[in-house]
């Protein structure tokens, strides 16, 4: 594996927090009490939690070692399909931590908060411009909550019109959260099959659409990385039947400045700021999932939102049609600042160029890996491409083995076994921030793994071997759950 980035460094062991420390140690300064101790109702008092007492250096070494067992975008290429693991600019973190911004209390009067309200207002405007839609709420904390907001808007819209619609159409190439979000709002998800070309056909939608159907949830480009070219006609069918069109914007990174959601016929769309707009994923969050709508649905958006008038910026309460609050305050504000900073840094040309290069990178990987891995849908695709392990079945190795061996080569594996329409799926999304050298090196690593599958499949089945731990027993974890120490 000469020249490949995967290499074992010095990996230090570290126990669990409560296996170290000593009663009476302290890792934090304590302010001296300047006031007398007040009496307290002993009946209500507890003993306080059983936490370990650690010194400052105990804590520093603990988390430094833990961090060294982790792999992030800053460590190397992270081609996790559908997750848009692009570079997270450092400047954005610094700006979000600006002391005057990071200390703002959300219950103060608008006059005290003009700066943060300006950032939110501008971001609302930017996201409207990028999607082509009219109005935006920044409250949802993640993509799934953005979807929930969208479905709540659907429900409220039909309620306001005195209509009772219970079904939602969801194609098999949509994101996994879609059915659960729809179900939370009392809708029954109706699965639709995509065609042999990986696209949803207009006839499929027309056949399923009826007066009970609230609309459709469409991920575009879909989870195969393919643009739903029939979207205009699909939207027309749904609208003609009195339904609404939800666009899952998780894959916006493919089409910024290229496709216009409103012209596609989309009524409601959420964006993932932690994907398209470069905010860090933080090992699972915080993210942000703003929801964007057409004018007719503006009054249904979560509230409050920021508006601007002669007096400056202010938080406007929602009207009677608003679905209300989804967050105690304004969503993950520090994430919003980072996305604002990203859009400000990029400007209109580079946002579009980012999408063009993301698509270039994915198509380049697809061209270079075709033949090495099976390509089930050989169609023009955008920001990601989906292969499978079909060609490796004869070697007795699976997608999981290929993924685990890639770890030894120093790469985070692609998304595996998703989308479900491709058995043994290997879903690769390189993003625009990987340069050609890195893509070439990744191709070389993947080809080496496939060669190893032929020559020595056991190497793959045993992988990874160069990590701190080898494969973990997930069955044991689920059979006998140990969720705390």
């Amino acid at each position: 594996m000469n020249g490949i980035v995967g290499a074992s460094g010095l990996i230090l062991n570290e126990p669990l927090l409560w296996e170290k420390g000593s009663k009476g140690r302290r890792g934090m300064s304590m302010v001296a009490a300047e006031v007398p101790s007040a009496p307290v109702d002993a009946d209500l008092c507890g003993e306080g939690p059983d936490f370990p007492d650690l010194s400052e250096i105990d804590v520093v070494r603990h988390y430094t070692r833990l961090s060294q067992w982790n792999f992030g975008v800053d460590s190397g290429m992270y081609p996790l399909g559908s997750c848009t693991m692009k570079y997270n600019p450092k400047l954005n973190d610094r700006l979000a931590a600006t002391p005057e911004i990071a200390c703002v209390h959300p219950m103060l009067e608008d006059a005290c908060c003009q700066g943060v309200l300006r950032i939110m207002f501008e971001l609302q405007e930017f996201l409207a411009a990028i999607t082509g839609l009219d109005a935006v709420s920044l409250q949802p904390s993640a993509g799934a909550q953005g979807e929930l907001a969208g479905m709540l808007i659907f429900a409220a819209w039909f309620q306001s019109r005195g209509e009772r619609r219970t079904r939602i159409l969801i194609p098999d190439t949509a994101h996994g959260t879609n059915p659960a979000s729809a179900a939370l709002c009392g809708f029954t998800p109706v699965p639709l099959k995509s065609g042999a070309d990986g696209r949803l056909a207009v006839e499929t939608v027309a056949a399923a659409m009826d007066g009970e159907t609230a609309g459709i949830m469409l991920t575009n480009p879909n989870t195969l990385g393919i643009f739903e070219s029939n979207i205009g006609a699909i939207a027309a069918v749904v609208h003609a039947g009195g339904g609404l069109v939800y666009g899952d914007g998780a894959n916006m990174n493919a089409i910024m400045g290229i496709a216009d959601a409103r012209k596609c016929g989309i009524d409601v769309m959420h964006l993932n700021l932690h994907k398209t707009f470069s905010t860090p994923h933080g090992g699972g969050g915080p993210g942000a999932g703003p929801v964007c709508v057409v004018k007719a649905l503006e009054s249904f958006l979560p509230a409050p939102r920021v508006v601007k008038d002669e007096g400056g910026y202010r938080l406007a309460a929602g009207g009677p049609e608003s679905i209300g609050r989804l967050h105690a305050f304004h969503g993950n504000f520090s994430v919003l600042v980072r996305a604002w900073s990203y859009i400000r840094s990029m400007g209109p040309e580079d946002l579009r160029q980012a999408s063009r290069l993301a698509v270039l990178n994915a198509n380049y990987l697809k061209a270079r890996l075709k033949g090495t891995l099976h390509l089930p849908y050989d169609q023009p695709s955008l920001h990601e491409c989906v292969f499978s392990d079909l060609l490796q079945h004869g070697d007795g190795v699976t997608t999981l083995d290929i993924a685990k061996r890639l770890i030894d080569y120093g790469y985070h594996p692609p998304t595996i076994y998703f989308p479900l329409v491709v058995p043994g799926a290997i879903m690769i999304e390189p993003t625009e921030t990987e340069c050609r050298d890195d893509l070439d090196q990744f191709v070389a690593a993947l080809k080496a793994v496939v060669q190893e599958a032929r020559d020595n499949p056991e190497l793959l089945r045993q992988a990874p071997v160069r990590t701190k731990l080898r494969r973990l027993d997930e069955t044991r974890a689920a059979r006998h759950p140990c969720l705390r120490g």
């Binding site: 302010v31 209500l44 804590v59 979207i231 205009g232 915080p286 290069l357 270039l360 998304t415 494969r471």
Partner: protein
């Protein structure tokens, strides 16, 4: 652009490998009718330095800054954040990783979250905590939905009006399309929830109280738990200031079945209310009804201890429309940050800090009452309390703000019957001098 690494020559060469003449040709699958007209309507790109200057200008418009003494809580609390918390949570191996789907290369995140779950469960006095939810408000909504799943044939939940008003709004948003009924429980003169409305109510899944509640009053959960359980319902304890459990009994000791609330006060900046942290814990028997991610301990091929995401069959990507929640991600980095904070503070530190906060707030409370203010609720409090003033307190507050102190918020917006009443909060960041200034400004 510095984030886009491609040179024009590389682009040409890569297009040649793909077999396309130019970048536009990569988008032929997008019909003309779906295309954007012209450039995106956002401002021109800025350099790192220009953007830094712009942020400087924006920061300068903020009239309340980091040097102000904030005597405002109501769901977000100004506490000292040790430098190691910022520094360690900012390590980019934590910051730039995804949800730990490949456990062999995410043991840092996984052990960190396992430790967070453990510290959270201990803090809240319950058997098991999840890997976190979005914020305290959505955690409460999820807690009530969980109760409705657990208690068979239930269709109602009861929520105290002393729960943070924004939390109650979020609960309404989540429950609106489900058809479940929400019963509002009033407060007594002591500021504690009055349960008498629950007499004879059937189909009740859960009763939610916040403690300390929105008025800072500590609810006597122990006394509430019995009638709630007798009615066949679960006791859901919400919270916005978990530091209180360094002094007062935690939800588990109070008999709560589910505890859900906000973790911001444990090491996260106030930051206009986000990024936030929904902490969520429950009794062990309900683990399979939990929403959100869970990390569990296991072993690797060689028998060494390690951690993985587990019990995923509850979740949306497997159980789809029958999942316990639609939540996908947690607030991973926020959870890790609070774990670092809790580890820095330790058990002894948490007790000390809670006591310090209590003593300081009692000092201000007594001082203002001594200066003529009236205590609106008689129940015991932590950090926060509600006062009514004889004179024009709004004018006093304006004068204090000019002197760098933001003193309380008016409750009239959320509780019309409490117009002219002010909610104060004191943390360890307030000095005796600040508090004396407020007291002397109020004294006639």
């Amino acid at each position: 652009m510095r984030y886009l690494p491609h040179t024009p020559e590389e682009i040409r060469e890569m297009l040649a490998v793909i077999g396309r003449p130019d970048l536009d040709e990569l988008f032929t699958s997008i019909p003309a009718g779906c295309r954007c007209d012209g450039a995106i309507g956002v401002p021109a790109a800025m350099t790192e330095w220009q953007l830094g200057d712009l942020m400087g200008d924006i920061a300068a418009t903020m009239t309340v800054g980091p040097d102000h003494c904030m005597l405002v809580g109501a769901g977000r609390y100004h506490h000292y954040i040790p430098e190691i918390v910022r520094s360690l949570a900012g390590r980019s191996e934590f910051l730039t990783s995804y949800t730990p789907y490949q456990p062999e290369m995410a043991q840092g995140t996984l052990q960190g979250i396992f430790e967070y779950q453990t510290l959270t469960a201990r803090l809240l006095g319950l058997d098991v905590a999840n890997a976190s939810l979005y914020d305290g408000a959505s955690a409460l909504a999820e807690g009530l939905l969980m109760g409705l799943r657990i208690v068979k044939r239930s269709r109602r939940v009861a929520v105290s009006t002393a729960v943070h008003p924004h939390y109650r709004e979020v609960v309404k948003s989540y429950l609106r399309p489900t058809g479940y009924e929400i019963i509002d429980l009033p407060c007594g003169a002591d500021g504690r929830t009055d349960l008498s409305l629950l007499q004879g109510v059937d189909g009740l899944a859960a009763v939610a109280l916040q403690s300390p509640n929105f008025f800072g009053v500590v609810e006597d959960l122990k006394r509430v738990a019995e009638p709630v359980h007798d009615a066949g319902a679960l006791l859901v304890a919400a919270f916005t200031e978990p530091l209180a459990y360094g002094l007062y009994r935690n939800p588990g000791q109070g008999g709560a079945d589910i505890a859900c609330g906000e973790g911001q006060s444990l090491g996260l900046p106030v930051s206009f209310g986000g990024a936030a942290l929904g902490m969520f814990a429950c009794r062990g028997e309900f683990v399979r009804s939990l929403p959100g991610r869970l990390v569990g301990e296991t072993v690797d091929l060689e028998g060494r201890r390690g951690f993985v995401l587990t019990l995923s069959t509850r979740e949306q990507h497997i159980r789809r429309e029958k999942a316990t929640s639609n939540i996908c991600s947690n607030q991973g980095l926020c959870a890790l940050t609070t774990a670092i904070y809790m580890a820095s503070l330790g058990g002894s530190g948490l007790r000390q800090l809670a006591r310090l906060n209590y003593d300081l707030s009692e000092y201000l409370k007594a001082g203002l009452v001594g200066a003529g203010a009236e205590l609106v609720f008689s129940g015991p409090t932590f950090n926060e309390f509600v006062l009514r003033f004889g004179g024009d307190f709004a004018a006093v507050r304006r004068r204090l703000q000019e002197r760098g102190i933001v003193a309380g918020i008016d409750l009239g917006g959320s509780y019309p019957q409490l117009a002219g009443c002010w909610l104060f909060c004191v943390t360890e960041k307030a000095t005796k001098k600040d508090l004396d200034t407020v007291i002397s400004e109020v004294r006639p």
